[in-house]
């Protein structure tokens, strides 16, 4: 990515975007009313832009978001241009996403790639949502909406011509993940017996015959917008890829993404069953949740690997940070989740044996 490029002598964002839009939107003039940084995202930088376009097909006032890489990128995530391609496909599939509008491929004139999308209303903040005063019906309705949106996304199947950067897993997506996580653990180079134990279990218990669909890859509370108690948009597509559809639900339901509200399995907000009901309204057939416990373990595993990588950025001296350092000390929590989740599945299995 463009993390190391010199960005000092470059034009400021507002001036650059105004010129960019004049060309891209065939405008006579572009006036930027405000430009402010939006919170969230250690990897990406999001700017809220309020601007007016005069002349051309886009004449009028627009509320946009400009998304670019921030200086410290994670190598396993998509670039902005790739993310833009994913957003286009998701939008065309009818998924509630911010409409992607223009992509800037940098040739050195600005310093980084970026794209512009329509700004979605509402808030993505997890804690207020999880602790909020939603009624049971409102919670379940929100989960049903998430289910139907993800069902629309999961109807996108390989191949997609514009996705030359995404590889389709050979064989089982679950086994491909196990191999990927082992590689990432090996790259850090410290023994992780508990994680290895869980990975072996994930390998031995990988579901067979799953489908391979377009998945969001980071669908969790905090990455979708809620406005007036309704889902208004799904954000943060940098981990999208071809995988098993249940991986998205497993990540949403993993204990680490309930923000303390353990009683609400799906994202600390509602139930997986409500999600499944919404999903079924789109696919026309019931969503089989029998593999969900497996994919929750896989989600917890994913968080363990991410936490290790984040801690490593501190430990290696690359990015000394109190927050990253403390993430390293979260490992025992994640390991406990892994052991408890796997033990619960095995106990359940023994009961039915």
């Amino acid at each position: 990515m463009d993390a190391n490029k010199e960005t000092t002598q470059k034009p400021d964002v507002e001036t650059f975007v105004a010129g960019f839009l004049q060309r891209e939107a065939g405008a006579e003039a572009v006036e930027v009313h405000s430009c402010k940084r939006l919170g969230g995202g250690a990897i990406q930088e999001n700017l809220a832009l309020d601007l007016s376009i005069s002349g051309g097909p886009w004449a009028g006032r627009h509320t946009l978001v400009l998304r670019t890489d921030s200086p410290s990128g994670l190598s396993i995530s998509l670039s902005r241009a790739q993310e833009f391609a994913v957003l286009k496909v998701a939008f065309a599939a009818g998924v509630k996403v911010p409409e992607p509008l223009w992509l800037h491929r940098d040739q050195g004139e600005f310093g980084r790639d970026f794209y512009l999308m329509r700004r979605v209303g509402g808030s993505a903040a997890a804690r207020p949502l999880v602790r909020g005063d939603l009624t049971t019906d409102e919670r379940e309705a929100l989960l049903a909406e998430m289910g139907s949106e993800l069902a629309r996304l999961h109807q996108v199947r390989p191949p997609v011509a514009s996705f030359d950067f995404l590889s389709v897993p050979e064989g089982s997506p679950a086994l491909a993940r196990v191999a990927e996580y082992r590689r990432l653990i090996d790259a850090i180079g410290r023994p992780q017996p508990t994680l290895e134990w869980a990975l072996r279990w994930l390998e031995l218990n990988a579901p067979v015959g799953g489908e391979t669909v377009l998945t969001h890859g980071d669908f969790r509370t905090g990455n979708y917008m809620v406005e007036d108690k309704r889902l208004s948009g799904i954000l943060d597509w940098e981990f999208a890829g071809w995988s098993d559809p249940m991986e998205d639900l497993g990540w949403l339901c993993a204990r680490c993404w309930r923000f303390g509200a353990w009683e609400h399995e799906a994202g600390g907000v509602g139930s997986a069953e409500a999600f499944a009901r919404g999903y079924a309204t789109v696919t026309g057939q019931p969503l089989d949740l029998s593999a969900l416990p497996y994919w929750k373990v896989m989600g917890t595993m994913r968080w363990a690997v991410i936490a290790l990588m984040q801690a490593e950025r501190h430990l290696s001296g690359e990015q000394p940070s109190l927050e990253l350092a403390l993430t390293g000390r979260m490992l025992p929590e994640i390991e406990l989740d892994l052991v408890q989740e796997i033990n619960a599945i095995e106990e359940e299995r023994a009961r039915h044996a």
């Binding site: 017996p193 025992p332 052991v339 095995e346």
Partner: protein, 124 residues
Amino acid sequence: MRSLPTAAELLKIARDGLLNELLPHLPKEQHYTALMAANALAISMREIQADASQDQAEAALLHELYGSAATSAGIDEFAVRLAHDLREGRFDTRLPAVGQLLLAEVTARLRVSNPKYLKQAGLN
């Protein structure tokens, strides 16, 4: 002769000062950093107080699986070996039993890093 107050006592009083005297005067944007710093002090304090219990838990785990060859002097080497053996499937016939042993070792580390989490997870 032992220097007093102990390291644990110093960390505790430093943490109290941070939370009770400094935090109320900090702008809101800095609260998160201050709370993280307080957490780092608390973890350090518990680690000192836990003495060698984390290492002992790991040594017990390795001893259980590899016998007396895995003395505490060779802990790191045996952790590498355990990770490798698990990946290669050498414990496949007793994965649940190994899970129980790992649980005890993880619990010992969690008592230091986040004892509240243990409680929330139904353990103590």
